[in-house]
């Protein structure tokens, strides 16, 4: 496992933009009966999700999330030095979506823009990228976007996927501050041998889109999808998630000699309550220190950690000093851990998308 320590960069604000439309898992037509849906809810902890209307992209949600956050921070658009956009549901195959957002938001032409097509480990990886850039002290202000419109790139007729994933865009505002005394500490891992655990087989260059790839196929009862829809092999993801993230967190904690008792919050990727509870118990962290917004928002991939911070701990994070751990894990398979401190955030915004 690789480790990284970054100094002089602090989190100053957070925002999340969620679609106003709520999709309840109870009542989804893909389930054969009520007992099936109740079992899924009991084992995943996910009751409902926010879903965009077709035609609305992750970058549309992001645009409003950034506008709201900049206003609250009293940051002018032309003061942003870097924009990193973590998302797999990009606006176009090319170019990068952060370029589209640079123009739409009126950011400077010398704003450093980059897309990272990562999933559930994306907030941790994105934080390491943006904080590294800012730590040199030349670029001062940066925005990390973690956004996803899962409802648009997965089959609505696949019961192994449809109840689990929601849409959201989040923004984490970072700033260089040479007086900031709390380093961000990271560790990372990847196991590409598990690339088929969560993947989209068609639509890239290995398997281009063909007429066959856009035909719906019944894989098994309740699982109908196209080649271009994302596949989630639940058992393989589960095997990975109950083993690797807790072990890597344990190694991380040992490496940096972190006292788990001193941690105020453990923000886990909001994957599935069953998985997250196992990770929490293996680390012996009490329940009240592990915030969850999963029941109302589902799995929002890279957005899930900042979304949990905004939804569950908005008031707390605007007051006092908080010693936090974050752990993202999933598609890749990839995982990352981060130890960070939050002090008196200037802005925490939860905004419902305005059509």
């Amino acid at each position: 496992m690789s480790f990284l320590t970054i100094n002089n960069v602090k989190i100053v604000g957070l925002s999340a933009c969620i679609p106003p439309d709520i999709e309840e898992n109870r009542g989804l037509a893909i389930f054969s009966d009520n007992s099936e849906v109740e079992k899924v809810i009991a084992s995943t902890g996910i009751e409902r999700k926010r879903i965009v209307r077709p035609g609305t992209t992750a970058s549309d949600l992001t645009y409003q999330a950034i506008c709201k956050l900049l206003t609250k921070l009293e940051w002018h658009a032309d003061s942003i030095d870097a924009l990193i956009y973590v998302c797999t549901s990009r606006d176009y195959i090319a170019p990068i979506t952060s370029a589209i957002l640079q123009d739409r938001l009126g950011f400077r032409n010398d704003c450093y823009c980059l897309d990272l097509p990562l999933g559930c480990s994306g907030w941790v990886y994105g934080m390491s990228n943006l904080a590294s850039l800012l730590s040199h002290g030349q670029l001062k202000r940066g925005l990390l976007v973690c956004a996803e419109t899962n409802s648009q790139n997965r089959s609505p007729k696949d019961k192994t996927v449809k109840p689990l994933f929601g849409d959201a865009a989040t923004v984490t505002a970072l700033e260089f501050d040479e007086k900031w005394n709390y380093p961000m500490q990271f560790s990372f891992g990847v196991d590409g041998s598990g690339y088929k655990a969560v993947w989209t087989e068609y639509g890239g260059t290995r398997n281009p889109i063909t007429p066959e790839a856009i035909k719906e196929k019944e894989i098994e009862p309740g699982v109908i999808r196209r080649g271009i829809d994302m596949v989630v092999n639940g058992m393989d993801v589960f095997s990975f998630a109950i083993k690797v993230p807790p072990r890597s967190l344990q190694e991380f904690i040992e490496h940096y000699q972190i006292d788990v008792n001193d941690i105020d919050y453990l923000f886990l990727h909001q994957a599935n309550k069953f998985i997250d509870d196992r990770i929490r118990k293996k680390l012996k962290v009490p329940e009240e220190k592990v915030p969850f917004c999963l029941q109302d928002y589902g799995n929002t991939n890279s957005a899930s950690i900042p979304l949990a911070m905004v939804v569950c701990k908005s008031e707390e994070l605007q007051k006092g000093i908080h010693n936090c751990l974050g752990c993202g894990f999933g598609i890749g398979l990839a995982w990352g851990n981060v130890h960070y401190t939050i002090e008196n955030l200037k802005a925490v915004v939860l905004h419902e998308y305005e059509y």
Binding site: K39, S43, N233, M235, D236, F238, S239, I242, F274
Partner: protein, 78 residues
């Protein structure tokens, strides 16, 4: 290491709705009304807890009887 009979008992405890008292190592675990992918996940979790062995999707998919899964655990613990 737990015996196969102990494993059959642990396996049966993962079912809520059906009577599992007649489960034996030779029971076809799919051949009942309750087996689902969610129970498959709880099998993986139970095996992780009780045997410290990680089963993957194919280990379950390729198995027919409870003994097949037990044998897979034995092979993986060696």
């Amino acid at each position: 290491m737990k015996t196969i009979d102990e494993f059959v008992e642990l396996f049966g405890e993962l079912f809520d709705d059906i009577d599992t008292s007649n489960f034996t190592p030779e029971t076809n675990f799919r051949d009942n009304d309750e087996w689902s992918s969610l129970i498959a996940l709880s099998v993986i979790a139970m095996v992780d807890d009780e045997f410290d062995v990680t089963l993957v999707g194919n280990d379950i998919k390729n198995a027919t009887t409870i003994a097949d899964i037990y044998n897979c655990i034995v092979a993986k613990s060696e």
